[in-house]
Amino acid sequence: MVTRLIYCSNNEKVVIEDVAAGNGAIENLKELGIYPKDEVFITKNIESKGPIHIKKNEKNVVIGRKLAEKVLVNSFLEQVLPLSQIKIGDKVEVVKMNSDGEIRYRLLDMGLIKGVMLKMIRTAPLGDPIEVEMSGFNLTLRLNEAKSILVKPVEIEKNKRKKFSIFS
């Protein structure tokens, strides 16, 4: 499945697919010696922060987080990660809800259960909270609250240039 490089876990082997960004980003990647169809091995990807370390033909390459977010890869494993780490435009399926207390009830009552599809719509101007689309309505929650919702990406936003890119 095509997914984002940052969604993949340590020790995973993936194939570089595409870059969901303009030519600049592709050039940057080429400078690092990474080309489409390359098979790379992820050596270090710490949750939600820092650069990503990968290995291509025994050569170590470090890709900055911002760039890595845009790198699409083909992965053979299923990624499960917190909703808080999902990028705008991506669609995910809820795998597990670990929330506790009142928030757990609220989410369950609004229909956020295993198997439900979510789409990340936007983050607030200051980066928190986030807005997700569920079947039929939009929901906001704080990043901290989104941390305990585990999801698996099912569809990655591929548009290289979004129409209203400055607006999202």
Binding site: R106, L108, G111, L126, P129, T140
Partner: protein
């Protein structure tokens, strides 16, 4: 469809419907409206009962209870609008209120208002109402939008699946209202029936529901009152209230065993817990039912809401647009509100002048003019602000921008333990605390609302401004006076935010309020609803707060006029007489002397009055802040209203209470050796932070809903004011002398 235990789930199974006998019943029907937030319940309620409604509070909680009635086919239909909820668990006061009403009061008919553009989420509540076996009718509201979207809903099939009569309505267009009322009457008179279908869960869940229900049925008292199956389901989903209801009873031992077994088996067979399992199954029924009855037209274009959102809350323009809206609300409320406020003030001045002319001088006139009329005027001046603010707020709420405003600013507010929705009440506090306190109604959670209420007093209100100008302008040169003013406002905000942080981490330590919130589609609220909301808030203020405010203002008038010292009165009357008799003086000179003597008299009488005594009494308390009894007394009268502070000082310095006299007052203040810059700073800080006027305090009490909080509010604002002033006085003393 989801398979559990290898078998397809049936959605609903018909219970045997026993035809009910047709009996003569009283021609009065009690109807409850239940539904999700934003489903258009309030609009539908307004359409059903028109202006014929009353508002109260649900016992014990600060949730409003709307009640109205209408006549239909000879029946008096009394409708209770339950608070909007997503579910009938007992997590919020709204849910408890809604559930208790349906379960305990057993209304004749429950209308479940459903947002048809969003059936999946709305039906979650519907299925719970089915569990309770309420006498249900479903109103498929927002049908106009469904039609616009070209979604098709097979209503006949839906009715069969749910076993409930289902009526398409549009609260905005006014369609389906008659039909809805027809069905209410028909259901009540047993012309039609609700089938009391039940929702059938998986075999595993059913096994335990059945076993627990069987035991519950042996408790006759319980099963006469509640539906055993519903209790069983609630026990399996860990409902605290139902647990509390049953766990003291003899049957509990057996039920407890079954519950434990259920937890074990669900863990082994489904690797989850019964609560999650039942909720998931409920959702999968709903999804199945919708798949069978609703045909969505695939959406190709971006919806209007998506387009508006991409403009209003995107990363770049989101904050500026938010700031613009907030600025607009503030300006409209307080600038536009100024005109009617002046009008009201002028009207009341004219009225007092008129009365002064027709009634001879005396205590009676004084009570009427300075007590009652001034009091009524004092109540009414807040009205324009309240009405405009609530018009704006209902507009923001009704269109759906309110939730977005909270979304945009939440990160900042959350840093201080507040909610995104606390922002509007807080900035309103810069204008006036009265509407600001009332605006906290938009906050749903108790801890957020109380915290916001408690920090609003520190947002410097407009009435304090003249005091700042007087004091800062007197003791500081033109350049630094501006800085001092700015510093005062800033200090208020800082204290407010620190207080919020403290309260959230001390008073509400273990309460974490989730931000989980729906961003509803943008909709245009109807003019009628807006007007209604505005009028409703205004009338609530008048009835609930206005009367007490009036009463207290008369009290304060009395306290500042009595007891009167007879000897002072006599002394000055003779002095004035002497001036009048003095042939050596010209008329002009006489007038000057008399005015001076009058002022002196007033000042002495104020000193002798109850308020004056209070001012002197607190002198030792305010001494460490650098205040003499005169400043202390000004502070005391400021509790009545901040506008009075300057005029009290005028009276105390025997200048008469006209505000035109500020220049003279400045000279007096400067001339006194008791005052200096440090005292000025200390006084400014105290005025900024201490308890708002009593009108605001009364509104605070109404909104906070308990004496405990009102007492805390008084003590907190007073001690913070004292403490910070003390610090400010001593620090300023080091640098400014």
């Amino acid at each position: 469809m989801k398979k559990i235990n290898g078998k397809n789930l049936a959605y609903f199974l018909d219970n045997e419907t026993v035809p009910k006998p047709k009996i003569e019943k009283p021609k009065q029907i009690l109807v409850a409206l239940a539904g999700n937030p934003n489903c258009g319940k309030t609009s539908l309620f307004n359409k059903l009962v028109g202006a014929n409604q009353r508002v109260g509070n649900w016992a014990g909680v600060t949730v409003e209870r709307f009640e109205g009635s209408t006549f239909h086919r000879d029946y008096l239909i009394k409708i209770i609008d339950l608070p909007g909820t997503y579910s009938l668990t007992t997590y919020s006061p709204e849910e408890i209120v809604a559930r208790n009403f349906i379960v305990e009061e057993k209304p004749d008919v429950v209308i479940n208002v459903v947002d048809s553009t969003n059936l999946e989420r709305n039906f979650f509540l519907t299925t719970q109402l089915i569990d309770i076996q309420a006498n249900l009718i479903v109103a498929l509201n927002m049908m106009d939008e469904v039609e616009d979207k070209k979604t098709q809903i097979d209503i006949g099939h839906l009715e069969n699946l749910l076993g409930i009569h289902t009526i398409p309505t549009s609260a905005v267009k006014g369609t389906g209202i008659e039909e809805l009322l027809d069905h209410v009457v028909d259901l009540y008179t047993n012309k039609i029936v609700t089938k009391h279908n039940k929702l059938v869960f998986s075999d595993l869940s059913e096994h335990f529901i059945e076993r627990i229900s069987e035991i519950l049925k042996t408790d006759e008292e319980l099963s006469a009152k509640y539906v055993p199956r519903w209790l069983a389901i609630k026990l399996l989903v860990n409902d605290k209230d139902i647990y509390g209801l049953i766990h003291g009873r003899p049957i509990w031992i057996k039920i407890h065993q079954i519950l434990e077994e259920a937890i074990r088996r669900v863990k082994i067979e489904q690797n989850t817990d019964p609560e999650m399992l039942l909720k998931e199954e409920r959702h999968s029924f709903i999804r199945g039912a919708i798949r069978e009855t609703v045909k969505f037209k695939p959406k190709i274009k971006r919806t209007t809401t998506e387009i508006i959102d991409s403009l209003l809350i995107n990363r770049i323009t989101g904050l500026p647009i938010f700031a613009l809206f907030m600025w607009l609300i503030f300006q409209v409320t307080f600038r536009l509100g100024e005109m009617p406020m002046n009008l009201i003030e002028n009207l009341f001045t004219a009225l007092s002048n008129f009365i002064v002319q027709i009634i001879p001088e005396g205590i009676g006139r004084s009570i009427l003019v300075d007590g009652v009329i001034a009091g009524v005027g004092g109540v009414l001046v807040f009205l324009p602000n309240i009405m405009i603010l609530f018009l704006s707020l209902s507009f923001l709420e009704g269109t759906g921008y309110m939730a977005r405003a909270a979304f945009v600013i939440d990160k900042v507010m959350h840093k201080f333990g507040l909610h995104g929705k606390s922002f509007i009440p807080m900035i309103t506090g810069f204008g006036c605390s009265v509407p600001a306190f009332m605006a906290t109604r938009t906050l749903k959670s108790e801890s957020d609302r109380i915290t916001t209420l408690l920090v609003i007093p520190f947002m410097s209100c407009g009435a304090k401004f003249p005091v700042y100008v007087l004091v800062a302008g007197t003791f500081f040169d033109q350049n630094s006076a501006g800085n001092v003013l700015f510093g005062i406002y800033l200090l208020g905000v800082v204290i407010a935010l620190i207080s919020a942080r403290l309260m959230k981490s001390i008073l509400f330590k273990d309460i974490s309020e989730p931000f989980v919130m729906e961003l509803p589609p943008y909709r245009m609220p109807t003019f009628k609803t807006l007007m209604f909301q505005m009028w409703f808030r205004a009338s609530q203020y008048l009835r609930k707060a206005g009367t007490i405010i009036l009463f207290v203002s008369v009290l304060i008038w009395v306290a500042s006029n009595f007891p009167k010292s007879e000897s002072v009165e006599k002394l000055y009357i003779t002095k004035i007489e002497n001036v009048k008799q003095n042939v050596n003086l010209s008329d002009e000179q006489k007038l000057q002397k008399i005015t001076k003597l009058e002022s002196k008299k007033n000042s002495l009488q104020l000193e002798n009055s109850a308020v004056g005594i209070a001012g002197k009494f607190i002198e030792p308390i305010v001494r460490p802040l650098g205040f003499d009894w005169k400043l202390g007394l000004s502070i005391v009268t400021g509790i009545a209203a901040k506008e009075i502070i300057v005029s009290t000082m005028g009276t105390l310095y025997s200048l008469g209470s006209d505000s035109g006299n500020t220049d003279a007052l400045r000279e007096k203040l400067l001339a006194s050796d008791k005052y200096n810059k440090a005292v000025a700073i200390s006084f400014l800080v105290f005025i900024l932070l201490y308890i708002p006027c009593f009108a605001a305090s009364i509104v605070f009490h109404r909104e906070a809903g308990s004496w405990k909080w009102t007492a805390f509010y008084a003590v907190y604002t007073m001690s913070v004011a004292w403490l910070i002033s003390f610090v400010a006085y001593n620090i300023a003393g080091l640098f400014l002398l």
